[in-house]
């Protein structure tokens, strides 16, 4: 009898890329739902628009590269990029900026480097930074969470604004947008206000901004689930948060009126999202476990530095991209001790 031959091991494989990506998507759902709850339909529109354009661009490039389209689309990596981008941008961002961001992320940052697995930079964060630098006004026009909003916009009004930039009645953009908590904190500190003074505003919740911190909690839930499912390793999120909190604690202990409470940093802006979903992108992060600790901690420290002394209120995207550049070098210098090399610990 004749048989076909394959290389060992001969086993039923236990993991799949699309399963990993699907787990990330599932873990994002609680946070995205919370965002829609606090910031309205704009978030959902962003999510749908980003997903559709990401898939379209991916399919287009794969066809241009003369590769089979379906296996690539079904690895769900484009969807993950789209979701991460959609939750990072303001809900009222004009539609064409969303599409442009996805075009940049998928075509320039991901596929031009060879597609999934080959991109040195996190596509979602690269697109976010591109838009933030090119369209600072649109990218920083956040709505207040519904708890604070004076004017609630309906789905059709939001759609109309996103498609054509027209607001209903006499409403102006200023009337429906509001600085983010990080922005507020930063502006007021620049005006030499004390933190106790700044926190008198109704904008604040327990640690971070009202509403914002709850979104953080839901993303945290998804993140912990991913750690439990081993979709991601614990090293990067833990090191990220530790790096950020230790920096914040040092300065907060030094002067609690000029430097916000550490948990304010954790539950503001994109930290939880960044720690569990963005910095953990395996393609662009460090792969050695020791390297991941360094990588995560460095992102945490960078986030604090840029937030406190840099030119932007939030810094997760910048910090992640900066460390993406350093990842291969960190990996090289954190190679584990191979069996039979060097000193054996137990002796």
């Amino acid at each position: 009898m004749e048989f076909h031959t394959l290389s060992s091991p001969h086993t039923k494989r236990v993991n799949r890329v699309d399963k990993v990506m699907l787990q990330v998507v599932l873990a994002l759902i609680p946070g995205i739902t919370a965002m829609i709850f606090y910031f309205g339909w704009g978030v959902l529109i962003n999510v749908v628009l980003a997903c559709l354009s990401a898939v379209a661009f991916e399919a287009m490039v794969i066809r241009l590269r003369k590769r089979p389209v379906m296996p690539v689309l079904f690895d769900l990596s484009a969807i993950v990029t789209a979701l991460l981008f959609a939750v990072a941008i303001p809900p009222l961002l004009p539609w064409w900026l969303v599409v442009m961001g996805m075009a940049f992320a998928i075509i320039m940052v991901k596929q031009m480097y060879g597609g999934l697995g080959y991109n040195p930079f996190n596509p979602a964060m690269a697109a976010y930074v591109l838009l933030l630098i090119s369209y600072p006004v649109e990218m920083t026009s956040w709505m207040p969470p519904y708890l604070l909003a004076e004017h609630q916009l309906t789905l059709s009004q939001i759609l109309a604004f996103k498609l054509s930039g027209i607001l209903p009645g006499e409403l102006t953009l200023d009337a429906i947008t509001m600085a983010t908590p990080l922005d507020q904190m930063r502006t007021n500190l620049d005006l030499n206000q004390m933190i106790s003074e700044i926190r008198l505003s109704p904008l604040w919740g327990d640690f971070g901004g009202l509403g914002w911190e709850w979104i953080g909690n839901w993303f945290l839930m998804g993140g912990i689930w991913m750690v439990y499912k081993r979709t991601i390793t614990w090293q990067i999120p833990l090191a990220f948060l530790t790096g950020l909190v230790s920096m914040a604690t040092i300065f907060w202990l030094f002067d609690a009126e000029s430097f916000p409470f550490p948990l304010f940093h954790v539950f503001s802006g994109g930290v939880i999202l960044g720690a569990f979903f963005i910095a953990t992108d395996p393609v662009t992060a460090c792969t050695t476990r020791a390297g991941q600790l360094i990588y995560g901690a460095a992102i945490g420290v960078l986030v604090y530095l840029i937030r406190t002394w840099g030119g932007y209120p939030d810094a997760v995207a910048f910090a992640v991209l900066l460390m993406n550049m350093a990842a291969p070098t960190i990996d090289y210098y954190t190679r584990p001790r191979t069996y039979g090399h060097g000193e054996v610990k137990s002796e």
């Binding site: 009898m1 060992s8 001969h10 890329v17 697995g117 393609v283 191979t338």
Partner: protein
């Protein structure tokens, strides 16, 4: 972690990095008791069933051989002889398929059994091995053709001459691969043989301790070995946690001693020698009964076989014959694996003989072990690194293997890879990682070979150049000596002049002729104009004017004699 290894004694165990908990699937072949394979129409015995130099046939076609008779051997240091598994007639010495990943053929001795199964005269049993010396025991083991039966097939006798003091002798009964149960079966049914083998090995190596390591999923085997242990002084049965690849030599040494075999080193360097339980049993047979290695336990398993189980099998039986005896195939068997699923290799055909290293024939159905999906891109998730028992970075090695950057992949310790398959098993992109490492290893060996050859060529070239130089120098030295000798001769010559007057005259003539030639040359040179380079225009004009004048005068001189006409 501590475990009880014998009554009232506990041992500390260590962990190795990574490893996997795999579905064991061992019950499949354990449902039936041990069975004995019957003799087929013909036995095919490859001349190489071990690592090292192939044995040379000692019999020719037509010759009758007896069971246990040595039919092939070699004087080489690293080799192992082959014995007839039964009595019968040698019908052929020729090429047949052998169980090898290449699917190629090799020279085999084919025996047609006569059905009598008559034993040859066996060497005298050494029942009192404690009074034998290690050298004669080693010779016995070597002559019995015993090789590592866990699959490595390294001649066992060589490992018993470590040249270093051995603290720990390990008898490997871990059997960590899924599906395989032949060692389990052996320990359950023949615990005494294994224990005797352990005793002999310990005596030969004079090791301080002997540890029989068994994974804790084999409680019956552990129990049987405990019973066989009785009140042995320095032998312990160690129950180790079930985690693949605990049975890998390096991993097992780490588990039991906490020591690590240095890279590209041998276990003896850390005072350890490791032998498989089946090897130990074969050694007991050879020493205590004089029997050579002519049969072994083989696990037949997989859902593609109708009657899986363990078979005591004469070496040389074709896999197809053995499978037919075991009820044949069922369902749609797709693959036939020699060895376990993790490290075994695919056979292209079942027309290959069972050899000394064949512990398992696994025939899974397509549902049981489906073909892997096409590989996707590596997403650098690092799961491979988490499970790697050598603590390598498989994803980096894959990257550089793919890029054919052999230097870099060796920098990432490619050659510490034991090809256990853990990384491939967990890879979410279904990349055949181990295949890439095999490729990189083969390429590196080829490159190394090439490098060595070119090094040799360079040495040869350098040697040739230096030899030519030396010869030239010698020639010159000879010449110089001759010249010096000539120079020193003249005073002696003068004395000879009167004697050899003719000779002298001839020489004188030659010298005179030469002097004449030289004088002529000199005169010629004097006649030719001198200092005619680098002249100024004025000087040139002057010279030309002088020349003209001289020519005119000459012409006049020549014409003058004509005038009278």
């Amino acid at each position: 972690m501590y475990v009880e290894s014998k009554k009232g004694k506990t041992r500390e165990l260590w962990r190795f990095h990574g490893g996997l908990h795999l579905p064991e699937r061992k019950a499949l072949s354990l449902q039936h008791p041990l069975q004995y394979a019957t003799l087929p129409d013909r036995l095919i015995l490859p001349l190489q069933q071990h690592i090292g130099i192939p044995a040379q046939p000692m019999v020719s076609p037509g010759e009758h051989v007896l069971k246990g008779q040595m039919i092939a051997s070699s004087p080489a240091p690293v080799t192992s002889p082959i014995h007839a598994s039964t009595s019968g007639t040698v019908v052929e010495v020729g090429e047949h398929f052998i169980p090898h990943p290449s699917g190629l053929t090799d020279i085999c001795i084919v025996i047609e059994p006569d059905g009598e199964d008559r034993w040859a005269d066996l060497p005298e049993p050494i029942t009192d091995f404690h009074s034998a010396d290690a050298r004669s025991l080693r010779q016995r083991i070597r002559d019995a053709g015993i090789v590592g039966m866990g699959g490595a097939t390294f001649p066992a006798a060589i490992k018993l001459n470590p040249g270093k003091p051995i603290q720990t002798l390990i008898i490997n009964g871990a059997e960590c691969e899924p599906y395989i149960t032949c060692d389990d079966r052996l320990m359950r049914d023949f615990s005494e043989r294994v224990m005797n083998g352990a005793r002999i090995l310990q005596y030969m190596l004079q090791s301080e301790e002997c540890l029989i390591a068994i994974e804790d999923n084999k409680s019956e085997a552990i129990l049987a070995m405990f019973e066989a242990l009785r009140d042995e002084e320095n032998i312990e049965v160690v129950r180790i946690p079930t985690i693949y690849p605990s049975g890998g030599e390096k991993q097992l040494i780490r588990i039991l001693t906490g020591r690590e075999v240095p890279t590209s080193g041998l276990p003896a360097q850390v005072g350890v020698i490791c032998h498989n339980v089946a090897t130990a049993a074969a050694i007991a047979d050879a020493v205590l009964e004089g029997k050579p290695l002519i049969s072994r336990l083989v696990t037949l398993t997989g859902e593609g076989l109708s009657k899986p189980g363990n078979y005591e099998t004469p070496l040389g039986i074709l896999a197809s014959d053995l499978i037919a005896q075991a009820g044949g195939y069922q369902g749609r068997p797709q693959q036939l694996i020699m060895g376990g699923p993790m490290m075994g290799f695919d056979l292209t055909t079942d027309q290959v003989p069972i050899t000394k290293g064949a512990n398992c024939l696994l025939c899974p159905t397509a549902e049981e072990i489906p073909r892997p999906e096409p590989a996707r891109a590596c997403i650098r998730c690092g799961r491979c690194a988490d499970v790697c028992p050598a603590n390598l970075l498989p994803q980096q090695m894959y990257w550089y293997s793919k890029a054919k950057d052999l230097e870099k992949v060796q920098d990432y310790n490619l050659f510490d890879c034991i090809e256990c398959g853990c990384c491939s098993h967990v890879c979410p992109s279904h990349i055949p990682l181990v295949q890439y490492y095999r490729y990189a290893k083969a390429e590196s060996w080829a490159q190394e070979q090439e490098r060595r050859e070119s090094e040799r060529a360079k040495q040869r070239h350098d040697f040739r150049v230096s030899r030519l130089k030396r010869l030239e120098a010698e020639r010159k030295a000879k010449l110089r000596k001759k010249k010096e000798a000539l120079k020193n001769k003249p005073p002696a010559k003068k004395a000879q002049v009167s004697k050899e007057g003719d000779d002298k005259d001839a020489k004188q003539a030659v010298i005179e002729a030469a002097m004449k030639r030289a004088a002529e040359k000199k005169a010629k040179q004097q006649l030719a104009p001198k200092n005619i380079e680098n002249l100024t225009a004025a000087q040139q004009a002057q010279i030309e004017a002088v020349d003209k004048r001289r020519m005119a005068t000459n012409q006049e001189k020549q014409r003058k004699p004509e005038q009278p006409d």
